[in-house]
């Protein structure tokens, strides 16, 4: 019996492993990352939107609340998915079942786990954002071209939180901080980063905080793409800001994974 190996890239093998595991247990993660945001869009956009539109909100630049909300919600759900999809698999792989630790007995290195993990998260985000975009079109919240254009900013927003969350989660030995982050970090971010209303309505200091979050930049980009409205800052600035979080988080994750797993 001889070992035959084909040419491969280790990170892609990690990506493949995640896909194989997902194929087995896809139902619940799919429901939480795709169906839940759609319920939000229907309830808030159609229900609440009806009230808002009747009063004629000036900030919506003539469009409907539904059209305002849809790209924001696309980015915000990508942010949420980015946290969930990044945190729990890392927790599971490193601390609970330790399948990531077992993977390191093969030729893989910690950086391959990071790269493969983030690639997988990117695919999940892409699928989630695309599903959301289709639904937005069906609900009449966006035109097809605009909805398709908003997918990119959505994926970038998700990755901008997924990378630093992976980097941080691997350093945790217990759950409580992660739960605190989700409860007291993600939820306010979801509500106050321009998703449901423009951050101009926030008081000054809070506005600065919102503007520093990756989500606000993602929302601005997604909205600019979906409703052809100029973003708050030049698009390149928003993109660069998201890219900084992605690349920064990714490099730190390579470092923290190695420190936690190689000892």
């Amino acid at each position: 019996m001889t070992v035959t190996t084909t040419a491969y890239r280790p990170a892609l093998l990690v990506l493949e492993a995640r896909a194989r595991a997902y194929a087995r247990t896809w139902l619940i993660p799919t429901v939480t990352t795709v169906v839940a945001p759609l319920l939000f869009l229907a309830a808030m956009g159609l229900g609440l939107g009806g009230l808002v539109d009747r009063r004629g909100a000036a900030d919506l630049a003539g469009g409907s609340y539904l059209a305002f909300l849809a790209p924001g919600l696309l980015a915000a759900s990508a942010m949420q998915a980015g946290v969930q999809e990044s945190a729990w698999p890392v927790r599971l792989g490193v601390h609970w079942q330790k399948t990531y630790v077992a993977a390191l007995t093969t030729p893989l290195a910690p950086r391959d786990l990071v790269d493969g993990h983030l690639l997988w998260v990117a695919l999940r985000l892409l699928a989630g954002a695309a599903a959301f975009a289709v639904a937005a079109v069906v609900l009449g919240a966006a035109d097809p071209a605009g909805a398709a254009l908003a997918v990119g900013p959505g994926v970038l927003t998700g990755l901008a939180v997924a990378a630093p969350v992976a980097a941080w989660t691997v350093t945790l030995e217990r759950d409580h901080r992660l739960i605190a982050l989700i409860r007291f970090g993600v939820t306010p971010l979801f509500l106050f980063s321009g998703t449901f209303f423009p951050i101009a309505q926030l008081p000054g200091p809070l506005r600065a905080v919102a503007a520093a979050t990756p989500l606000w930049h993602g929302v601005e980009l997604a909205r600019a793409a979906a409703v052809a409205r100029p973003p708050a800052l030049p698009a390149a600035v928003h993109l660069a800001y998201l890219a900084a979080w992605i690349v920064g988080g990714w490099l730190v994750a390579r470092h923290t994974f190695a420190r936690r797993l190689i000892r």
């Binding site: 070992v3 084909t6 087995r24 247990t25 079942q97 077992a102 007995t105 093969t106 030729p107």
Partner: protein, 307 residues
């Protein structure tokens, strides 16, 4: 041919704590080598360094002729590892766990499928291939981990407590499989808390204590060097032992006091037993037996093998 494992002055520190304190180990090709030692002795730390997943703090280490510090992936490609913890994906099936792990080696799926079937046969799990791992018994999971370690057809198999938690039948199955692998030329390195396992499987072993090697040799040599030929085991009623210990003075070469029994080391245990009776002592239980590795272990580490 060069040694499969060559370690000199190997040290592992975690912060200020020294887990492995300068050990020398050589393991030749095809050999079965064991690490014995009480909890915390540094066995797993050593295994992880050999497995190229934990960088040594100091010392010289070569595995399969290569340096783990620089050639980790190349070494791990040729290793099979049974870690102390199973580390299985319990949501997935038995076969899926193996497929995913095999893919990490870059092995093509079409080669892996028949290999997985063969390995599941080998560890007698073929009928569970499509079952989720979660409800499997501890012994089945352990056998699955052993199958996982064989996916890449390793030259060197590192087994950290391969049979802990297994029932006697499952342990014998594992021993038989490991023996067959040895016959095929696979080098085995294992840790264990079971002296019968060490005696069954190991050509040579070391006893570790507090990060150091305190004895080395074949099981038979170790018994000859560190224990008397026979042992007399006495059981006294709980609490009523103090006077008796003094009364045993001079009967044996050495007396070892355990929580549940007293061991008398002597060349002739029958005669010692007669002497105990002659002194008017009435233990609850008397056992005459030959010395084993467990006695060596007790002597060297002051602790029993299974804690």
């Amino acid at each position: 041919m060069s040694d499969v494992i060559e370690a000199r002055g190997l040290v592992k520190r975690f912060g200020a704590f020294t887990a492995v304190d300068g050990i020398d180990v050589r393991v030749g090709r095809g050999e079965a080598f064991g690490f014995l030692g009480p909890n915390g002795a540094g066995k797993s730390s050593t295994m992880r360094m050999i497995g190229a997943v934990s960088p040594p703090t100091a010392g010289h280490l070569r595995v399969l002729g290569r340096d783990p510090a620089t050639d980790g992936p190349a070494i791990r490609r040729r290793l099979g590892v049974v870690p102390q913890e199973d580390m299985l994906d319990t949501e997935l099936t038995v076969a899926e766990n193996l497929l995913i792990h095999g893919r990490y080696f870059g092995l093509p799926v079409r080669d892996l499928r028949p290999r997985i079937a063969r390995l599941l046969d080998f560890v007698q799990l073929a009928d569970r291939a499509g079952d989720r791992v979660e409800p499997l018994s501890g012994g089945m999971k352990r056998r699955l981990v052993i199958a996982r370690a064989l996916l890449n057809d390793p030259e060197l198999l590192l087994l950290d407590e391969p049979t802990t938690g297994l029932d006697p039948q499952a342990r014998h199955l594992v021993w038989d499989r490991l023996y067959r692998l040895k016959q095929q030329g696979v080098t085995l390195v294992l840790t264990t808390h079971y002296m019968d396992e060490a005696e069954q499987l190991c050509d040579r072993l070391v006893v570790m204590d507090a990060g150091r090697i305190v004895a080395e040799g074949s099981p038979r040599d170790l018994v000859a060097a560190h224990a008397t030929r026979e042992v007399l085991e006495l059981r006294f009623p709980p609490g009523g032992r103090n006077g008796e210990l003094a009364a045993l003075e001079g009967i044996a070469d050495r007396v070892e006091e355990l929580p549940d029994r007293v061991l008398l080391y002597t060349a002739d245990a029958e005669r010692a037993a007669a002497a105990v009776t002659a002194r008017g002592l009435r233990p609850d239980g008397v056992v005459v037996r030959r010395s084993t590795l467990e006695d060596v272990f007790l002597r060297l580490t002051g602790r029993s093998l299974v804690e």
